[in-house]
Symmetry: C3
Subunit: 185 residues, 3 copies
């Protein structure tokens, strides 16, 4: 058949419009963002189980640590250095990675201890192992700069993690727009 | 007009590329996933109100129960059978569906009782009614296998629900990639 | 070249199919929904920091206040008028905007006071300033009608906000389907 010139132009226009809208929609179904706001050990475990599980099946995972979550990325709860009195108080009262508590049934550490024992017994990876796996699988960790500033947490206090980066709320917004799934934990 | 062979081939290539990227982007705007992590009654109510509301307007809803949330799907808090001492302790301390507490103002059950009374008085569906409606509307419930294993919860302890299934973190990741919206509750 | 009629028809069909599926997928990557369920000051701060941050980089932001979150939009905790005894109790026990507590380290207001002081000292905007900025940036606030009814909160008790609206779960479902990102806070 002979294609009418008008029909051909119409076709080109529709194709271009589809291609444009495809480029505008940048949300990748295989990207997962986790905003870690809380510092409870159960939530941290859930976050890292989801992060490593998703990364293991090929998803690109970014964890954004903010507010109380930021404090849990510290090697230990109390580190000296030039800090104001209030910053020292924050440092002392907030849990570091290994002193995080369960959100319920913690019972001054009893519940936590039982939970740890059950996890070991049943071959469920603990927090340290999960963080190691996350690093191996290329899970990115981003730390909220405003939270660090607010609580007076210094970069040298944070755990050693290969893909650790510092960022603000604009960077969070960009991540949210680029990934299909963003969870607030 | 006569279509040049090169232009025709270019057209075919662009169409195929658009079709491929459309297939890769499987995130369905009409799918909603709810990850139920907590066991507080207010959060369970919120989860089931959102699930039934979304299902009522035609969305496909999947609820994924994990960690403390898993325990709330039990018929009752204590069920015998072959369990270790720690598993028994979990069973005894964690709330089953009808013994879930409010996250605030519970006041040993007083606040919960008042909330229940207000809901009844104002014709707001309670948890049992919401679960029934969810089942009628085809809301799927998936239970995290790792959580069941960790807390020693057996399948026969869970409520009777027509679309209840068991799954792991890989299944969660697939659901997240396939739905436009996933909430962590 | 001469285009075969069958090939031309096939092309038209594929284009139409792509256009249909594009229209069905209405999830806008530049839209962000925040479901504010909790009434803790730290979560409110996080919600408004994300809302204003995202709006500042050009995203369209909608905040949906439900359950305990609804109560925090009140000007003050106790407002008279025709209320049942239980509604009065809710009004008295739930925090209004300026009496919200931290979810941890509140210590009867001590931690809150220190947090406020640190924020001021470090030039981090407080809740009142953030709400003002949100209004300026066109962040929409929607209040869950069922929660207002349940807790007996009247419209005149809520803060003055230019883009405040009332809506139900159907409206939440529509928002979720239309935005790429929805967070439950």
């Amino acid at each position: 058949m002979t294609v009418p010139a008008a029909a051909w132009e119409d076709l080109q226009r529709r194709l271009a419009s589809l291609e444009n809208s495809q480029q505008a929609n940048t949300a990748d179904p295989n990207r997962l963002n986790l905003v870690v706001f809380e510092s409870h050990r159960d939530r941290l475990l859930a976050a890292f189980v989801m992060a490593t599980g998703a990364a293991a099946v090929g998803m690109e995972v970014t964890m954004f640590f903010t507010f109380w979550g930021t404090a849990t990325l510290r090697k230990r709860a109390f580190i000296g250095g030039k800090k104001s009195l209030v910053e020292r108080a924050f440092g002392w009262m907030l849990p570091a990675k290994n002193s995080t508590k369960l959100s319920r049934m913690d019972m001054c550490g009893m519940g936590r201890m039982l939970m740890d024992r059950e996890m070991k017994k049943k071959n469920i990876a603990d927090l340290d192992k999960l963080i190691e796996t996350a690093a191996d699988l290329g899970v990115k960790i981003q730390v909220c700069e405003m939270s660090m500033q607010l609580m007076g947490i210094k970069r040298e206090e944070l755990i050693d993690y290969p893909q650790l980066d510092y960022c603000g709320v604009a960077c969070f917004a960009e991540n949210a727009a680029n990934a299909n799934t963003t969870l607030f934990i």
